[in-house]
């Protein structure tokens, strides 16, 4: 499914050779082994992998949310043209929730159970937005003054340059925030936004909570939204609704999305481009149709053959023998080689780099399966 995208030549995120390690009692977990990828404006990039692939760690690394014992030990992450790895904590806080937002898997654990929905969404808004304009608007509405009359000498406070957020009462700010909250909830198509805003997380269903998380993430209209398995715990019909909603929001606001999941069906339907990850490496990377029509990496190919699917009869499922490696002592060279049916000596010696096998389609493999046909 080809979806309309924004300015394709404008990169909004570039990750080069990212390495993130976790220093645990048991040893050093080499979670990310040199990950490189890019996200363009207005597109949806799918990050696909199983447990241990490093997809969630990548998301956390982008936002520098990796806590000890984890540490980013190498590489670069450029958001537009700013290197995120060199930012101070203050600068990062300005970016999180504001320019880059993230939605996690289980909204129940990421929503504070003792705060109302309104407080939680408003938190994001008040941290990043100057609500001056909104407060003025509300005050004007309350006083019954029309918007056009701007030079009211009697009421100096309505002149924007005289007003600063901190000069307003808490009540004013809360009213302004409420307006923005309702705006955000309307964006995610929550029915009865005013009513919902006053409720607590446990009073809502799973789908609604996820919408609340989306509202929080989108409240400040970020340029990049990361969805980390955001629909995994949802029913399949609710999942379809949420994804449809995301698509609409993207068309409206032009936000780029990184969709992290282990579900290949999801990425096929929603993403423009896909990066397949395995044990901390990006093993294949390209447009959705390229990956599915022509999977070149043995892992990608194996995955596609191993899943039961609705669109065709599946006889005996293909099996990728073995299991995901231990990242404390990962296999040398290509981390997939112990499970690969086509592995040769060189695969064990040296890690393959991403190579362009057709325009915009990259594979990290010495012996890619070219022309393997249907996915």
């Amino acid at each position: 499914m080809i979806r309309p995208t924004g300015n394709r030549s404008c990169k909004i995120l570039t990750i080069k050779n990212l390495k993130t390690y976790f220093y645990t009692y048991a040893g050093v977990v080499q979670a990310l082994n040199g990950v490189s990828l890019e996200v363009f404006e207005g597109e949806t990039l799918g990050l696909v992998g199983e447990t241990g692939s490093g997809k969630s760690v990548t998301a956390l690394s982008i936002l520098r949310l990796v806590d000890s014992p984890g540490k980013i030990v190498g590489g670069e992450i450029y958001f537009r043209d700013e290197n995120l790895l060199q930012k101070t904590e203050d600068e990062l806080r300005n970016i999180r929730g504001n320019k880059i937002s993230i939605i996690f898997q289980d909204p129940m654990t990421y929503l504070n159970p003792v705060l109302t929905i309104k407080s939680q969404i408003a938190e994001a808004i008040m941290l990043h937005q100057d609500l001056t304009e909104t407060v003025i608007e509300i005050k004007k509405q309350k006083a019954g003054i029309k918007q056009e009359t701007a030079d009211e000498s009697s009421t100096n406070i309505f002149k924007p340059e005289n007003a600063k957020s901190r000069n307003f009462s808490k009540r004013d700010l809360e009213d302004a925030a409420m307006e923005k909250v309702v705006e955000a909830l309307t964006l995610v198509k929550m029915p009865n936004p005013q009513e919902i805003a006053k409720r607590y997380p446990h009073e809502l269903s799973g789908g609604m909570r996820q919408r609340v998380m989306m509202a929080m993430a989108l409240a400040c209209r970020p340029e990049l939204l990361i969805c980390d398995e955001a629909t995994t715990f949802l029913d399949v019909t609710t999942q379809a609704e949420i994804l449809e909603l995301l698509k609409e929001i993207q068309e409206k606001t032009g936000t780029s999305i990184i969709l992290i999941t282990h579900n290949l069906g999801l990425v096929a339907e929603t993403c423009d481009r896909i990066a397949v990850m395995y044990a901390g490496d990006v093993v294949e990377y390209g447009a959705t149709s390229q990956i599915f029509d022509n999977p070149c990496h043995p892992y990608t190919h194996g995955l596609l053959e191993a899943i039961p699917r609705l669109d065709r009869e599946t006889g005996r499922l293909a099996v990728i023998r073995g299991s995901v490696p231990n990242l404390i002592s990962p296999p040398s060279g290509c981390r997939f080689h112990p499970r690969c049916p086509y592995a040769k000596d060189v695969c064990e010696r040296e890690k393959p780099e991403l190579v362009e096998i057709e325009p915009n389609h990259f594979v990290a493999c010495y012996f890619p399966l070219v022309g393997s046909g249907g996915g």
Binding site: D235, N263, P308, V324, G375
Partner: protein
Amino acid sequence: MAVRVQEQLLLEVRDMRKYFEIRGGLLQRTVNYVRAVDGINISIKKGETLGLVGESGCGKTTTGRVILHLVEGATGEVLFRGRNLLELNKKEIRSLRRDMQMVFQDPYSSLNPRMTVRDIIGEPLLVHGICRGQELRDRVLKLMKMVGLEEEHLSRYAHEFSGGQRQRIGIARALALEPALIVLDEPTSSLDVSVQSQILNLLTDLQSELGLTYLFISHDLSVIKHMSTRIAVMYLGKIVEIASKEDLFKEPLHPYTQALFSAVPVPNPHYKKPRIMLHGEVPSPSSPPSGCPFHTRCPHIMEVCKEREPELIDVGNEHLVACHLVGSPLPNRL
């Protein structure tokens, strides 16, 4: 309608209901009921796999547990080889346990962390006094080989294995008593994709080798399609459609089934399918809607749907649907 030979039916469930009480108030009186299973009829022939699919709260898990008598207090009839399980006493149930076993969903909590593999797989044999000592060890070993585990795993503890291997241990345990029926409750939902295929293949092999009958419960329609011969779709405690796999996928008749099919993502970017969006929230099982339970979200709702609950009707070839659109007069095919 083809006549079902009575002896071939291994399991038959008739009008089974299981309500859970909701207690409230100072004196913890029963204020309401959660209608987990609200009157279902299913049957499984020997050797086949019935897939039970539905989303959260539809009652499929409770159904599996009632059949295995892990949940008490259900009404109706659950006939296993002709005998109603719900009317048996403790001793009879215990002996029946040898014929029905379960494979659980979570490989991380369905195995006792303090027991070795040998203990876990051997426990059923010990409990029923079938064998001990060396003979037990041999039988356990045989079961392990059957599911793809090695002899050296005997003395290891469950937490030393990966998810897929743990699920193999669970399967071996379920096979220990040589049951006729195995209820599988989301056996691969917690596993990685690449491991899932291993386990599904194993289950298929075991079924043909040992002549097992499966009740396969899952929310994953793709897996259900792969494993089942017949499929039953549940919604809010009721069965809305049952058919053979081929019939169901060729022509899903119930609007919920159709919506379900359209919502499942397919790993093929060129696959076109109708987009059926459901609106409204899933009703709570403690206050189900009147009439047809699906009417609050159904895109084809009619007046009668709010008032009267539709019956399960056979529309040919044992394809049953509970929907007023597919009513008795003229078939209103969608």
